[in-house]
Symmetry: C2
Subunit: 236 residues, 2 copies
């Protein structure tokens, strides 16, 4: 879907991974300040696939990105191995927030972000974009190995050794931020939090109790802000 | 598709990328000597998609691999940028063999092997496989950046930083071989060359003139062997 057809080709291009969650919305809001931005969204069999795609479309439109490319990926549906894509594994309630990240949870999707970044780099090569944005967050995150700076440094090396011109940079502007700082940054930038979706379990109202909801609710609370999306049981 | 249901779970597992070409067939023949082998095949909009998939199925059956997982990828169809996936870009005839690899050709599919390896690593994490085989070849290859040792070293670092147990190894047994050595190795191992497909252009008979055919024909010639697949115009 292309939102804008005017010639703004004088601006440098960037590709952003837009899941539809709060971090990706803030990351996209940062990208559009400086770049003609192309967004990738992935439907990979995650439980809230439809809701996330709708969020990505809405955020892309609000932020005026140049094109949203929705991609479907079969592999995670077929191989299983994660509570996000395998309905035989229950989505757990979050542990106490201070314990989140202590171990890799069952919601870890094996090596998922490598698929996302590979797609973003492929598209960047075709578009001539020199930046690939992804809203990974190390602290306050769920302990996923593919959300750590060393992982993105390794991916940068992969780009330098495996692309035509070796000149695309992976940009992780949120990686060192606390979730409350991401909320504040998003409010400053006008990121459309009301259009984002983070819950692992529900598509209509957020459950409020999964790890992703727990981190999000805590982030808004700590930032002294109100989360604009609906929660089950009128949380928060 | 599962070819074998007997319990051979005592053998360690490996995942192999099986395109259906001669290199991947030899690589798979190496893997099955030591591992319970799971093969991934990718349909990504390449011109000879149907022929390659048929080859992968046939090779997998001949070599007794445990399971072949065929995956479809939308992205290259959608973003274009390669003569292999974009029919508006012609497949060129090969330059003189000594000039192949001097520059990156239009058949380069942007950052393609990162998609293949990401899928292989994801599946390896779920299967508990500790090896991921890919039949990349640096010398005698077409100059693709994602066929060089430095690229696979970077991917190894990506695995070490971005997987649950950081214990999966990328294995590139052919990377330093000449193509003629790969033919000889395949003949020793009983790799089913008659079931492989390398041509970029044709699906019934190989064209004999594209870069991939030129490299293959030269490899068999240099090895003193006969290529068993049919070529247009009765080549070689």
């Amino acid at each position: 879907m292309t939102f804008s057809s005017q010639d703004i080709s004088a601006r440098p291009r960037a590709v952003v991974c837009l899941s539809g969650g709060m971090d990706s919305a803030v990351c996209t809001a940062l990208a559009v300040r400086d770049f003609e931005t192309y967004a990738l969204h992935f439907s990979y069999g995650q439980r809230t696939e439809q809701r996330e795609l709708a969020s990505a479309h809405a955020i892309a439109k609000t932020l005026g990105i140049r094109q949203l490319l929705p991609l479907r990926m079969d592999i995670f549906r077929q191989i299983g191995g994660s509570a996000l894509t395998d309905t035989s594994i229950a989505i757990p309630d979050a542990p106490a927030v201070e314990e989140i990240g202590a171990e890799i949870p069952v919601t870890y999707v094996p090596f998922r972000n490598a698929h996302f970044l590979a797609a973003a780099v492929s598209w960047a090569e075709v578009l001539g974009a020199k930046k690939v944005f992804i809203g990974a967050v190390e602290q306050d995150s769920s302990g996923y190995p593919d959300c750590r700076p060393a992982y993105y440094q390794a991916f940068q090396q992969l780009i330098c050794t495996g692309t035509r011109d070796a000149d695309i940079e992976v940009v992780t502007p949120l990686i060192a931020l606390q979730k409350r700082e991401i909320v504040r940054l998003g409010l400053e930038l006008g990121a459309p939090f009301h259009q984002t979706w983070s819950c692992y379990a529900g598509e209509t109202v957020a459950c409020g109790v999964c790890e992703s909801c727990a981190l999000r609710l805590r982030a808004f609370l700590d930032a002294g802000a109100t989360d604009p999306i609906p929660y089950a049981g009128n949380r928060p």
